[in-house]
C-alpha cells in the first residue's frame, strides 16, 4: 500500500488554508460591480399583509430596486422533496412556499420584501423605509393545540395544521397494539426532543449573477449540494434551464443540514441580478440565521415498551408530534418519517414496532434535517425508555440491551421497522465499552464524587443509524422525488497526476483528503498527486451532495467505481504497450506486468501513452484516461455504536458536569481514522450541546426568545470532557465496494440519550425518584426534579 492510502491517518490538507485564513467563502467573493441585498422580515409570527409600500425605500440613496411577494407570484413554489402519504392513503398537505411571503407572513423572520442597493448599508437603511401594513393574527405555536384546536391555521387553504398522519408500518399496528395489551410489563415515557438552531459558523450567503451576453446565470451559495440547489431553482422555482445556470458552492463553513435546502434568498438574488444586470450579494446576519435557517428536531413523543418480566422486548409503539414549522423545507417530510420511524427497532430483535407521526404546521421557522435527522429522535426515545424499563424491572441497563441485541450471526437481519441491516456486532461494541469506559471502576469513582458532595451517574446507550442515503429504487417507492445516487469522474492527466470531480460537497468532512486516499490506494500512486474538485456544477458530474453520512459510502463508492474503470482501460493500454493480451496483464502497486514475468510498465507511462497516442490502436482504444461512474447504493448502511458517559450532579445547584464520554463506533472500513475521530468528536459536542444547553424557544405569540447567543447556549470547550473515541470495531458494509458505513452524524445521535441516562442514574443513586428530565438538562430542570 502506498503512503496515504485507505486506512492512513493523513492530516487534512484543506486545514492548511482554513487555519491560515485562506479559505474562500461565498462572502469573500465580490464580483466586479456587485450590489447588495437586504431583506425585510416579519416581526410577527402570523400576519395578514394588507399592503407593502416600497416607494419611499426606492427613493433612498443608492437603492437600485425593491421586491415584494407580488414580484414572484408567477414563479414556482419551493417544494418538499418527499411525498408522504397519511395512514388513510391521502397525500400530505403541501402548501406553497413562495420566494417572498405573499398575502400572509407565517413566522417571525419570514421575508416579505427585499431591497438591492449600491452598498449593504444603503440596502439596510432602505429596508427600514419600507411601509408594511401587516395585521397581526393569533399565532399557532404549541403543537398540541395546533392539532386539537385548529381555530387558527398556518395555511388557510389546507384547512388543517396537520401535514400528514403517518403510520409505520400500518399493517403492523393491530399486532403491536395486541402485543402491548397482553404484555406482562409495559413502560411508558413521554419526552420532548428539543428544538435546535443549527448555528453554522458561516451564515448563509448567496450571490446571483447574470450575463446578458450569453444568458447564463450563476449562483454562488452556501450549499451542501450544488446540483440539488440547481435542480430546485431550475425545475421548480425560477424555471431557468439547467444548462444556463451554474451553481457554485465554494468553501462552506459548516452546514449540519441547514445548507442542504434551497431558500428563497437564492432565487431572489438571481432574479434581481437578471433585472439589474449586476451581481447581487446577500449575506445573512446572525439574527437572520437564527430566524430563517431551518431548525432541527422539535418532536414530542410518547413511547411504550412492552416486555416480558425478564426484559425480553415484545413491542415498541410511539406517537409523535413533529414540528415542521410554517413551510415544508425540502427534506422536512422525510426526516420525521423514513429517517426516524424506520430506525425505531434500534439494535434489537423486538418483533413488533409501530410508529405514528403527525407532522404539524406552526408559525415558527421551518424545521428540517439537522445532524442525525430523525435518527437522533428515534435513538433518544428508544434508549431512554429502555433505561426506564430496566430500572422498573431491576435489570442492569447493559444486560437488558444485550438480552435483546441482534446477534452477529443473524445478519442480514430484517427488523420489525422495515429495514434490513447488513452487518454489525453490537455485543462486541458493548464488550469494548465495558473495558474502555472501565465500568468496573465506576463504584470507586462514584464514592469519590460522593465525598465531594456530588452525585455521580453512569449512562450508556447503543444506537444504530441508517446512512449512505440512499437506494433510489427503495426511496422512490417510499415517496422520494429525487434519486439518491452520487457520481464521480476520475481524470488522469497526461503527466499522471489526477483530478477527481465529485458530486459530494465538503464543508468540514475532509473530502479533499479522504477521497484521494481511495484513488491512491487503488492506483498505487501518492495521494498528494490526486486532487478533488467539488462544489461547481459546471465542473462536476451530477451528484446529490453531502448529508445523511452519505459522502464516503455513496460518492466514495462512485470514486471507487470510476477508478476501477480507469484501471480497466489502462490495462488495455498497458497490454498494447507490453505486446500481450489484456487477460495476461495484472496491476498492483502502480505497475502493470505480464503475469509471471518481469515485463512491466508503470501507471505514469500508461497515462502518458493515453494522451500521446502515437503507435496506438486507435480503432480499439480511445485516447485519454478519464472515467465517470454513477453509484446507486443497494441498501442503506448501518453504522452502530455503544456509548458511555459519567456525569456529576451538584445537588446544591442542579448543575451537571460531564466527566467522561466514551464512544465506540462501528463505521465499517475506515478510510482516514484521524478524520473519523474528528467527525465523531464534533458530533459529540453537538449532542452534548443538545443534552445540556441548547434550546430553541418561541413564546406563545411565536416570538423567538432564544434568538441570539445571549439566550441560545452553544457548547463550549469547558462544557465538554476529553473524549475517548474508538472505531476499531469494524464490521464491513457488505454492499458497497469500500465497505464503509459513514460517520458524520454518529456522535450527535449517540450522545444525548447517554447524557440523560447518566443524569437520571446519578439522581437515582442519590435517592431521587426521577423517571426523566427533558433536554436541555439545565441546572434549573435538574434542581426542580430533585426538589419536587
Amino acid at each position: 500500500m502506498p503512503d496515504g492510502g485507505i486506512g492512513a491517518p493523513t492530516k487534512r490538507r484543506e486545514d492548511t488554508r482554513f487555519l491560515t485564513g485562506r479559505g474562500k467563502y461565498t462572502d469573500d467573493i465580490t464580483p466586479q460591480n456587485t450590489s447588495y441585498c437586504a431583506f425585510a422580515r416579519s416581526q410577527v409570527a402570523n400576519g395578514k399583509i394588507n399592503s407593502i409600500d416600497t416607494s419611499q425605500a426606492t427613493k433612498m440613496p443608492g437603492v437600485l430596486a425593491a421586491f415584494t411577494g407580488e414580484d414572484f407570484v408567477e414563479v414556482g413554489s419551493n417544494p418538499a422533496g418527499w411525498l408522504i402519504n397519511s395512514r388513510d392513503g391521502e397525500p400530505m398537505k403541501e402548501p406553497k412556499r413562495p420566494v417572498l411571503a405573499h398575502g400572509k407572513v407565517r413566522h417571525v423572520g419570514d421575508a416579505y420584501a427585499a431591497v438591492v442597493a449600491e452598498t449593504l448599508e444603503q440596502a439596510m437603511d432602505a429596508v427600514e423605509a419600507i411601509e408594511a401594513d401587516i395585521d397581526e393574527l393569533d399565532a399557532v405555536v404549541d403543537m398540541a393545540s395546533a392539532v386539537a384546536d385548529p381555530g387558527t391555521l398556518v395555511h388557510d387553504e389546507i384547512e388543517t395544521n396537520i401535514c400528514f398522519d403517518w403510520g409505520w408500518i400500518e399493517d403492523n399496528r393491530a399486532a403491536t397494539d395486541e402485543a402491548i395489551k397482553n404484555a406482562p410489563h409495559v413502560t411508558t415515557l413521554e419526552l420532548v426532543n428539543n428544538r435546535l438552531v443549527p448555528n453554522a459558523l458561516e451564515p448563509r450567503a448567496s450571490i446571483g449573477e447574470y450575463d446578458p451576453g450569453t444568458g447564463d446565470y450563476k449562483l454562488t451559495t452556501t450549499s451542501q449540494n450544488p446540483h440539488l440547489s440547481r435542480l430546485l431553482v431550475s425545475a421548480f422555482v425560477l424555471g431557468i434551464p439547467e444548462n444556463k445556470l451554474t451553481v457554485l458552492a465554494p468553501d462552506v463553513g459548516g452546514g449540519f443540514g441547514s445548507k442542504i435546502y434551497h431558500y428563497g434568498e437564492e432565487a431572489l438574488v438571481l432574479a434581481a441580478a437578471k433585472k439589474l444586470g449586476r451581481p447581487v450579494k446577500w449575506t445573512a446576519t446572525r439574527t437572520e440565521s437564527f430566524l430563517s435557517d431551518a431548525h432541527g428536531r422539535d418532536h414530542v413523543t410518547k413511547i411504550e415498551l412492552a416486555c416480558e418480566k425478564d426484559g425480553s422486548f415484545i413491542a415498541f409503539r410511539t406517537e409523535t408530534l413533529a414540528n415542521v414549522g410554517a413551510y415544508l423545507s425540502n427534506f422536512s417530510t422525510a426526516t420525521p418519517t423514513f429517517l426516524h420511524g424506520t430506525l425505531m427497532a434500534g439494535n434489537y430483535t423486538v418483533p413488533n414496532v409501530y410508529v405514528n407521526v403527525k407532522a404539524v404546521f406552526t408559525n415558527t421557522a421551518p424545521v428540517d434535517a439537522y445532524r442525525g435527522a430523525g435518527r437522533p429522535e428515534a435513538t433518544f426515545s428508544l434508549e431512554r425508555v429502555i433505561d426506564k424499563c430496566a430500572r422498573e424491572l431491576g435489570i442492569d441497563p447493559v444486560e437488558i440491551r444485550r438480552k435483546n441485541f441482534i446477534k452477529k450471526d443473524q445478519y442480514p437481519f430484517a427488523t420489525a421497522a422495515g429495514l434490513e441491516y447488513d452487518s454489525g456486532d453490537y455485543d462486541a461494541l458493548m464488550d469494548g465499552l465495558e473495558k474502555v469506559a472501565d465500568f468496573a471502576g465506576f463504584e470507586a469513582r462514584r464514592a469519590a464524587s460522593a465525598k465531594e458532595g456530588k452525585l455521580r451517574g453512569l449512562g450508556i446507550n447503543s444506537y444504530v443509524e441508517a446512512c449512505g442515503i440512499a437506494p433510489s429504487n427503495l426511496v422512490g417507492i417510499l415517496g422520494a422525488r429525487v434519486g439518491l445516487y452520487d457520481a464521480a469522474t476520475v481524470r488522469v492527466n497526461p503527466t499522471g497526476n489526477i483530478s477527481v470531480m465529485v458530486g459530494a460537497h465538503s464543508h468540514g468532512q475532509g473530502h479533499e483528503t479522504a477521497f484521494p486516499q481511495i484513488v491512491a490506494d487503488m492506483l498505487g500512486v501518492d495521494a498528494q498527486t490526486v486532487d478533488i474538485v467539488h462544489g461547481d456544477t459546471s465542473k462536476i458530474p451530477f451528484g446529490m451532495g453531502t448529508y445523511g453520512s452519505r459522502s464516503l459510502a455513496v460518492c466514495g463508492s462512485a470514486v471507487f467505481r470510476a477508478t476501477e474503470k480507469v484501471i480497466r482501460k489502462a490495462t488495455l493500454i498497458a497490454a498494447h504497450m507490453l505486446e500481450d493480451s489484456p487477460e495476461n496483464i495484472e496491476f498492483s502497486d502502480g505497475v502493470f506486468a505480464i503475469k509471471g514475468t518481469n515485463k512491466t510498465v508503470g501507471f505514469g507511462d500508461v497515462a502518458l501513452k493515453a494522451y500521446i497516442p502515437h503507435d496506438y490502436p486507435i480503432d480499439a482504444i480511445e485516447p485519454g484516461l478519464e472515467e465517470t461512474a454513477f453509484y446507486d447504493p443497494a441498501n442503506f448502511t448501518y453504522p452502530s455504536g455503544a456509548y458511555a458517559s459519567e456525569v456529576e450532579v451538584d445537588p446544591e445547584t442542579g448543575k451537571v458536569t460531564v466527566c467522561s464520554m466514551v464512544a465506540l463506533d462501528d463505521f465499517g472500513v475506515v478510510v482516514n481514522p484521524m478524520i473519523v475521530t474528528g467527525q465523531v468528536e464534533g458530533g459529540l459536542a453537538q449532542g452534548i450541546g443538545q443534552a445540556l444547553l441548547e434550546n430553541g424557544v418561541y413564546d406563545e405569540n411565536g416570538q423567538l426568545l432564544s434568538g441570539s447567543f445571549m439566550d441560545y447556549a452553544m457548547p463550549r470547550a469547558d462544557d465538554l470532557p476529553s473524549f475517548v473515541v474508538d472505531h476499531s470495531n469494524e464490521t464491513r458494509c457488505t454492499h458497497n465496494p469500500i465497505g464503509s458505513k459513514g460517520c458524520g452524524e454518529a456522535g450527535a445521535i449517540g450522545s444525548p440519550p447517554t447524557i440523560v441516562n447518566a443524569v437520571v442514574d446519578a439522581l437515582a443513586r442519590g435517592g431521587h425518584d426521577v423517571d426523566h428530565i427533558d433536554m436541555p438538562v439545565s441546572p434549573s430542570r435538574v434542581w426542580a426534579a430533585m426538589n419536587p
Binding site: Q43, V44, L705, G707, S708
Partner: protein
C-alpha cells in the same frame, strides 16, 4: 407577560381620575415619552424612546383609553413600533377605590414584545416591563401627592401641591 400591583396615592379619587385622563400627565408619566398628542376621545399618538438591554429604539405608536367607568376604572392600552428594533404593546387595567388616606390604584398589566426586542431582550423583558409600569405609576403618585420637604415641612402644615396639581392650577 402579565403583572399586577397596586399603589396608594394621598389624593382623593376624583383628583386621581382627572389626572389619569390628562394628556400632559400621561406624557409626564410615560417613561421615555418625548411627544404625546391627542385626546381621550380620539386617542393619543406618542413617541417613546427606550433602551431594552442592547436594543435602543424610538417607538411611535398609539395610546388609547377605553372601558371607562367614570371615577372607577379604565383600560390604558398602547402599542408602538420601533422599526428594526421590533414592537411592543401592552395594556393596563386600572381600578380606583377610596381609602382612609386617599385612593388605592390597582393595575393589571399585560405586555408583549416582538422582533429584535424579543430575540435579544427576552431574558430581561419581564423585569423591564415591571420597571416601566412601576415607574409610570410612581411618577403618577409623586405628581399627585404633596412634596415632602423634610427640613421645613414640620412647622408649616400647609402642604405643597404636587406637580400634577400645579399643572392643573396653571
Amino acid at each position: 407577560m402579565k403583572l399586577a400591583d397596586q399603589i396608594e396615592i394621598a389624593a382623593d379619587r376624583q383628583v386621581v381620575w382627572n389626572a389619569i385622563l390628562d394628556a400632559e400627565v400621561l406624557k409626564a408619566c410615560i417613561p421615555g415619552c418625548e411627544e404625546l398628542t391627542g385626546s381621550v376621545e380620539d386617542g393619543f399618538e406618542a413617541v417613546v424612546v427606550q433602551k431594552v438591554g442592547p436594543v435602543k429604539a424610538k417607538f411611535k405608536g398609539d395610546v388609547e383609553i377605553s372601558d371607562i367607568v367614570k371615577g372607577e376604572s379604565l383600560k390604558l392600552s398602547g402599542s408602538g413600533k420601533g422599526g428594526p428594533a421590533g414592537f411592543a404593546s401592552g395594556s393596563a387595567d386600572v381600578r380606583l377605590s377610596d381609602t382612609d388616606t386617599g385612593t388605592l390604584l390597582e393595575y393589571d398589566v399585560d405586555a408583549k414584545v416582538g422582533g429584535k426586542l424579543a430575540q435579544l431582550g427576552s431574558r430581561i423583558i419581564d423585569g423591564f416591563a415591571k420597571k416601566l409600569a412601576g415607574q409610570f405609576f410612581e411618577r403618577f403618585q409623586e405628581g399627585l401627592e404633596p412634596e415632602m420637604d423634610e427640613t421645613e415641612a414640620t412647622e408649616e402644615t400647609e402642604t405643597k401641591k404636587g406637580w400634577i396639581k400645579r399643572v392643573f392650577s396653571t
